[in-house]
């Protein structure tokens, strides 16, 4: 039985592997671009489709968790097929840069329209959109006069009234990292502990869940990203719109450092083969057309000042935001997470 079975097994294995090799795409056709995106497909595909329409460049997309993508880039080394990396936060871009996975965006691509604090000083990455993380409160239960800063949320009056998502989420980590940078570790740890003491429930769900919890009465305050609220306010489902409209936005820390912001951004991979296409993509993403789409359809703040905000965003009001260089947020991410662990922020 041995030799016969062996033979059959080997032939099957051979057939399978040849099928697989056939089935897989080989490297580089003309006019293509390969993207690793931490933004999930639904949020980025529409604008990429527009890009393809306009430039005839085919887009090959892999979405996933930013760190997994960066890890993959690292192990792929010089044979990595990826051309650009798109992330949902600044920290990851900084990390990719520090690992030597990015290259300078050529001068042909104009970054002048973007606010300087949102661009890497070495031109390894640039922001594409901006989002803020304000306080959202229940209109019928909270008097905005009682709100002021993020630090004030540790007051006893807010006990059992705050909803915020888990510390494992990158937005909270960046927010905490920014606080460490601006307030120092000790003060930030105090703040985190105080905040945790005021939680209405152990962190669960995403940003939208926090907003819904406020609407349902489980808590009175939520901390969430602006585009989630914007998306809910424009939803086709009436129930969702009602929920979104039952909360209002409060911009904390307007008298000092400003509200926390983060970005989604893009960088060119070190071993990119389709350099021209990568440049074209970045230019496109920073063009008025793309920025407007982000503003109108995605509910995010454009990084090109000339582009107007959507009405929904305008209704939330203008605000002052933090002005720290964003790569520090990436550098302090690990410290932020440890701090949140110590504070018991699950």
């Amino acid at each position: 039985m041995l030799p016969e079975f062996h033979l059959k097994f080997k032939t099957l294995l051979a057939t399978l592997s040849s099928v697989l090799v056939l089935v897989t795409p080989t490297a580089g056709f003309a006019d293509e671009i390969n993207i690793y995106s931490a933004r999930n497909e639904a949020l980025i595909k529409p604008i990429l489709d527009k890009f393809t329409e306009k430039t005839d460049i085919k887009v090959n997309l892999v979405t996933g968790k930013a760190d997994a993508l960066i890890s993959r880039m690292q192990s792929e080394g010089q044979f990595s097929p990826v051309d650009v990396l798109v992330t949902t936060d600044a920290g990851r871009l900084a990390r990719a840069k520090s690992m030597g996975l990015t290259q300078i965006i050529p001068n042909e691509v104009s970054l002048s329209s973007v606010n300087a604090t949102l661009v890497d000083p070495d031109r390894h990455w640039t922001a594409l959109t901006k989002r803020a993380r304000p306080i959202m409160y229940a209109k019928d239960r909270v008097d905005p006069a009682t709100l002021s800063t993020m630090e004030a949320l540790t007051d006893a009056q807010w006990k059992g009234r705050i909803c915020i998502r888990s510390s494992s989420n990158i937005y909270n980590q960046s927010m905490t990292a920014a606080l460490i940078e601006q307030l120092g570790e000790q003060a930030t740890e105090q703040w985190a502990k105080g905040l945790v003491a005021n939680f209405a429930r152990p962190p669960a769900g995403g940003d939208r869940d926090q907003i819904r919890a406020v609407a349902a009465g489980q808590c009175d305050i939520a901390v969430a990203n602006t585009y989630y609220l914007a998306g809910m306010r424009e939803s086709q489902d009436k129930a969702t719109r009602d929920v979104a409209n039952s909360v209002a936005v409060f911009w904390p820390n307007q008298d000092d450092r400003g509200v926390h912001i983060n970005i989604s951004g893009i960088a060119i991979a070190k071993h990119a083969k389709n350099l021209a296409q990568a440049e074209a993509l970045i230019s496109f993403m920073l063009s008025e057309e793309a920025q407007q789409w982000y503003a109108q359809t995605n509910g995010e703040y454009p990084v090109v000042d000339a582009v107007a905000w959507s009405d929904t965003l305008k209704a939330m009001g203008t605000f002052k935001h933090e002005s720290i260089p964003l790569q520090t947020v990436g550098e302090k991410n690990a410290d932020a997470l440890k701090l949140m662990d110590r504070a018991g922020w699950k």
Partner: protein, 539 residues
């Protein structure tokens, strides 16, 4: 030669595990200390509680259901016997999202309660779905078929003379179940429990969504949040240790009971009237909660959001998912067959623990396998390209790590355990004496494969193929990391949408996974039916 190949393949399967364990060599003590002071205890206790809770849950539900449906017949019992496996088609994180949507504070159930009784938040107690307990319940609801299937087999194989002997000694039905039937079926039940527990330990989607800190969420957190892949791997190594314990316990308990009794299955007891109805209701509860109710909810969501989907977006998802699952199922079962047979022929030189090791992959989180597989394959690709470039000036690119090979490899590492369970049990029914009997009748080894082994193994092989198919369809984390460009699966799509809190939109791909998974499950049912009908006749 076969032996060499055996150890080679085993080595490949264990490669990711090796990568994980080798990370222990470089511990980051300060980080480990930080983890120890803060969250490590949580990880351990939650992971252990989760595994134990799921293990106990699936054992109770799976075995009781199998018992009720094999010992009694009532209106609908035949149908229920087959429907009970449907939850296999439902991924755990999908059912988690669905019930959260239904039962959460802002969901329809609680809203209804508040409206009817005029309660406010804090006035009433309602179980919190998003908790450790909730996670246990969710996973139990979709994993109990593992135990159910194996227990069902075991119970039908038990001779009725056992029951009659004990009845004549005045042993009540309950006593018979707890003292005799259950212990005899114990190896099968434990095997099912072990599978369910390993899957529970490796889950990421459910615990992440529910905010339960287990080892898997800890691995993600340490890796992504703290940027320390080393420490993340070390946490994964600790998780693997827990799994070793689970498997060791399973092996130990299996040793104590050797043989199921030979003999004829008894005729089921007929239940009618209230008793019958009550039993029917009780037995339909698991499949209702684990499958029917979530499918109804998902369907209603999918229908209301159907206009958001276009055929061009949807069709490739389905075809790619099915293709990946099909190829992997075939390759995995072939691998399991090879391993099982080589062990059988060379029993002396291949110890039992070698086969058990091959099942290790099931316990590693998908994401860890992904890294464990990517690193060596990527390394190989780079070396290969350097070589061919130097000699032929040709760079084939990342033929392993950049194509579906790496993904299928990762799937195989993870799911060979499932296939092995079935090939091993299947082979066990072919006694060595049967092989010798065939030879004594002039039928050599090759012919014997076709005439004896294949027909007897057929149900096991089909079960293995179908189960691996469904598992690959549902797989998430490894797929997220390893898929090549422009390859997207239903699971990835559903996950992205759900994590983006577009649950209603996620319903369509989620439902598709379930529907694609139903077909193999139905085939599995048909297979079981034929198998059992054969063995159900009395002498």
């Amino acid at each position: 030669m076969s032996r060499i190949l055996f150890w080679l393949l085993l080595g490949l399967i264990l490669l990711p595990l090796g990568v994980v364990l080798s990370s222990i060599a470089n511990p980051d003590f300060s980080l480990l200390q930080h983890l120890y002071q803060t969250v490590l205890l949580d990880y351990v206790s939650n992971s252990v509680l989760l595994a134990v809770g799921v293990g106990v849950g699936v054992a109770i539900i799976g075995a009781s259901l199998a018992w009720a449906l094999t010992q009694y017949s009532f209106y609908g019992s035949r149908l229920l016997g087959w429907l009970a496996v449907l939850p296999l088609a439902m991924p755990a994180y999908i059912i988690a999202y669905t019930y959260t949507g239904l039962l959460d504070y802002s969901g329809p159930v609680q809203q209804f309660l508040r409206a009817t009784f005029d309660w406010q938040y804090g006035d009433y107690w309602f179980p919190n779905v998003r908790s450790l307990g909730g996670a246990i319940v969710m996973m139990t609801l979709v994993l109990f078929p593992y135990v159910y299937l194996l227990a069902r087999n075991a119970f039908t194989a038990q001779s009725h003379s056992l029951r009659e002997a004990s009845a004549s000694m005045g042993v009540t039905r309950w006593h018979y179940f707890s003292r005799i039937a259950w212990p005899l079926a114990w190896p099968a039940i434990v095997a099912g429990m072990a599978l369910a527990m390993m899957e529970a330990l490796a889950d990421y989607g459910t615990v992440a969504y529910f905010g339960v800190s287990t080892f898997t969420s800890g691995v993600f957190r340490t890796w992504f949040g703290m940027g320390s892949r080393q420490t993340a791997l070390q946490l994964a190594a600790m998780l693997t240790l827990i799994v070793f314990v689970v498997i060791w316990l399973e092996q130990r308990s299996r040793h104590k009971v050797r043989h199921a009794t030979k003999g004829n299955a008894r005729e089921p007891v007929r239940l009618t009237g209230l008793k019958g109805m009550g039993m029917a209701l009780a037995c339909s509860l698991p499949v209702f909660l684990g499958f029917i109710l979530p499918v109804i909810q998902l369907s209603s969501w999918a229908v209301s959001y159907l206009p958001d989907w276009s055929w061009q977006d949807y069709a490739p998802l389905v075809s790619q998912s099915v293709m990946l699952a099909g190829i992997t199922a075939l390759a995995t079962v072939l691998l399991a067959l090879f391993l099982s047979y080589t062990k059988r022929w060379y029993t002396a030189s291949i110890p039992q623990w070698a086969i058990n090791l091959a099942s290790m992959g099931y316990a590693l989180p998908g994401i860890v396998i992904a890294v464990g597989v990517l690193v060596p394959l990527g390394f190989f690709d780079i070396k290969l390209n350097a070589f061919t470039n130097a000699w032929f000036g040709y760079q084939p690119g990342l033929i392993l790590s950049g194509t579906m090979v790496v993904l299928v490899f990762a799937y195989m590492v993870r799911f060979v355990a499932v296939a092995l369970q079935h090939t091993q049990t299947g082979l066990q029914t072919i006694t060595p004496n049967m092989d010798d009997a065939a030879r004594s009748l002039g039928v050599g080894s090759v012919k014997a494969t076709w005439r004896v082994h294949l027909p007897i193994m057929k149900p096991s092989l089909i079960a293995a193929l179908l189960l691996v198919f469904v598992d690959v369809l549902k797989e998430l984390p490894a797929t997220l990391v390893l898929r090549p460009f422009n390859v997207n699966t239903l699971a990835v799509k559903a996950y992205e949408l759900a994590m983006d809190e577009r649950l209603q939109q996620a319903a369509l791909p989620a439902l598709s996974i379930v529907l694609c998974g139903i077909l193999p499950v139905l085939l599995l049912i048909r297979q079981l039916r034929k198998h059992e009908d054969k063995y159900a006749k009395r002498a």
